[in-house]
């Protein structure tokens, strides 16, 4: 195996009595984008500080191209970083902001001009290069900060929630543009965000950072389909996953679970779960809602219909009083009117997720 561009090796960091990062390891290849995703306070920004060298770990090692960089200052590491608050130099023009990494590395004036010009054109900020940061819109500030991080083509690129402070339209555009842009520089990219959609859209892999640990590092579909625990299942998915405490039982050679007053057969792998308490998770898109009864469907009350991008969310209430969220394609939503009516819902047992109620760890599907 080739040496990864960036390797984090059992990093540990504490501030006073709080452990912020605990035994964090990760390898990122050149040209790969790993999205570090997790709730605020999970240690995401601290992780970037450690890699950039503005803070040092209590234990562990950081290697770039196989060599430890712990004893190098931020200026000696081959790192670029875009900050969540942009951190532009307020007294310098956008051009000088972007040129700063090039000037630091002693490039000739003509080359600086050319490289700043081309990255500015790529990010469509060429017309504001003469402006000071306070004269830029939030979107332009964000692009300037991104250009400054990218311009030198650093070996490791750290992006700290760069789309946090920009408006929804720009965020959507950038989400489409960024993968191509990041790929074209060949850097190892660590992209930090709280937004699971951004993570799914941008990451070749997603590392879920919670409570100072990577709880799961996997490709986006795996995070969604086989979340390591119930918290990750909750974090990834909009609307949130439906969760019900229940207890599968052995019956007639198979295993069944009682849900919404109905008995549903489970796949063979669930056999070991018979008789123990579990949290059963049903993704909203795995609930099939019909106006007429179909085999296996249970009657539910439709409380409300809310459009959400290309899908509409249906707020359902089962006969035993549980809430159930389902989604349908938006063009189907009109069939359900505005809610307040009886409909039928069918869940697909082979798409069930099951978690241990105490530890939250996933029980089903069993790890491949």
């Amino acid at each position: 195996m080739t040496t990864p561009r960036l390797a984090l090796d059992r990093l540990r960091k504490r501030y006073r009595d709080t452990v912020v990062l605990d035994d964090v390891s990760l390898e990122v290849a050149a040209g790969e984008t790993v999205v570090v995703c997790g709730p605020s306070g999970g240690g995401k920004t601290v992780l970037l500080r450690l890699i950039s060298g503005t803070s040092s770990p209590d234990a562990g090692d950081i290697r770039i191209d196989g060599a430890s960089v712990l004893n190098l200052g931020p200026e000696e590491r081959d790192v670029g970083m875009a900050f969540q608050n942009f951190a532009l130099y307020p007294h310098l023009t956008a051009f000088e902001n972007i040129a700063s990494p090039l000037r630091a590395h002693g490039l000739a004036e003509a080359e600086i001009k050319e490289r700043v010009g081309s990255i500015a054109a790529l990010l469509r900020i060429g017309h504001v290069l003469g402006h000071r940061p306070r004269e830029l819109s939030n979107g332009q500030k964000q692009r300037t900060a991104l250009a400054r991080a990218l311009v030198r083509g650093p070996g490791v690129l750290l992006l700290d929630d760069p789309l946090r402070n920009v408006d929804a339209k720009l965020r959507y555009e950038m989400r489409l543009e960024l993968p191509r842009l990041l790929g074209s520089f060949g850097s190892a990219v660590i992209y930090v965000t709280q937004d699971y959609k951004e993570a799914m859209a941008l990451g070749q892999r997603i590392a879920v950072l919670r409570g100072g640990r990577f709880e799961q590092v996997a490709v986006p579909p795996a995070i969604y389909d086989r979340p390591a625990n119930v918290e990750i299942a909750r974090l990834f998915g909009d609307p949130t996953i439906n969760l019900y405490p229940c207890r599968p039982q052995a019956m007639g050679g198979g295993t069944i679970v009682e849900l919404f007053g109905d008995r549903l057969p489970l796949e063979a792998a669930a056999g070991g779960l018979a008789g123990r308490d579990v949290l059963l998770g049903v993704r909203a898109e795995d609930v099939e809602v019909t106006l007429e009864p179909v085999p296996g469907a249970v009657p539910v009350e439709l409380d409300a219909v809310t459009p959400l991008n290309v899908r509409a969310v249906l707020y359902l209430r089962t006969r035993d009083g549980k809430e159930l969220l389902a989604t349908v394609a938006e063009d189907e939503a009109p069939r359900f009117g505005r809610g307040h009516r009886s409909v039928w819902a069918r869940v697909t047992p082979d798409r069930f997720l099951m978690f241990d109620p105490a530890s939250g760890a996933r029980l089903l599907p069993v790890a491949a």
Binding site: R49, S52, G53, T54, G73, P74, E75, R77, V79, G80, M81, F83, N85, F86, A87, L88, Y89, P90, H91, S100, P101, A104, H105, P133, R134, N138, K141, R148, R152, N165
Partner: protein, 285 residues
């Protein structure tokens, strides 16, 4: 926004005029006095109309004071020069020492850091008269009595804490992320300090330097005790106008005008740096 009615604009203008008159009148009166002879100043009732004379200024510049008792030598211009020298060098020294120290206190947590910063501030609490006696004894032993070096050293008590504490606040207001970003760009620690931290704190440094200069300029007691006539600033030199044959009001007024001028010019010059700070949004909107 609501358009202001003409009436309220007129009223506001009047109010500003009254305030300005109230505060500027003494200065205006002193300015008039500086062009009058003692007799014109002391006549009753006082009048705004008089034959202006440059005699007071001539006496100050030439250093010869004509009084009823004869001609007196007064080293006013030398005093003025001393004031400029003492204040400027003191502030410059305080900037060289205080600005890096302020940066250290703002950015780094170190053992006894807060205590050291507070100790420096506490120099401003001590009444000068309390420390003057021991100070003058030490100065005599060290041979610093009646030297510029000694006075500038003592003036650090005035200017250093001021600069340290004001500039520290400005450094603390700069987001550390801006400096981190510059380091990550590949610039050294020193370049980050000179190219990012210093320019961004410049309004604060200008304000602190101006204030420290004024405080040094206005100091009286240190120079009175620790220096002799040829090293004394204007504040002490002005005592010479209280002569055996009466107080020379005209010359005092002219001296006041002359000694206010340098600080006024400095304030006008520093103003653009002060305003610059107000418009320089630090990190983001």
């Amino acid at each position: 926004m609501m358009r202001e009615s003409p009436l309220s604009r007129i009223l506001r203008g009047l109010a500003l005029l009254v305030v300005a008159l109230f505060f500027l009148f003494p200065i205006f009166w002193v300015l008039l006095m500086s062009f009058q002879t003692n007799e014109q100043i002391l006549r009753i009732p006082p009048s705004l109309f008089f034959e202006p004379t440059l005699g007071n200024y001539v006496a100050l510049v030439s250093g010869k004071l004509e009084t009823a008792a004869g001609t007196l030598e007064i080293p006013f211009m030398r005093n003025l020069g001393n004031s400029v020298l003492l204040s400027a060098v003191s502030v410059a020294l305080s900037l060289v020492l205080g600005v890096p120290a302020a940066y250290a206190f703002a950015r780094f947590r170190f053992r006894l850091g807060e205590n050291i910063a507070f100790t420096l501030l506490s120099f401003r609490f001590a009444p000068p008269l309390l420390v003057l006696l021991p100070l003058s004894l030490y100065f005599q032993d060290l041979g610093l009595n009646d030297t510029y070096t000694g006075l500038i050293w003592v003036y650090q008590l005035i200017s250093l804490p001021l600069i340290l504490w004001i500039v520290r606040g400005y450094f603390e207001d700069i987001s550390p992320d801006i400096e981190h970003a510059y380091r990550i760009d590949g610039h050294s620690w020193w370049r980050t300090f000179t190219r990012i931290a210093l320019p961004l704190a410049r309004p604060g440094i200008a304000a602190a330097a101006l204030l420290a200069f004024i405080f040094c300029w206005n100091n009286f007691i240190f120079a009175l005790i620790l220096a002799s006539a040829d090293k004394q600033p204007v504040t002490v030199g002005a005592l010479a106008f209280v002569t055996a044959s009466g107080i020379q009001y005209g010359q005092i007024a002219a001296a006041v005008i002359l000694s206010v001028t340098p600080t006024l010019l400095l304030a006008l010059y520093a103003q653009r740096y002060l305003v610059e700070g107000l418009s320089l949004g630090a990190v983001k909107g």
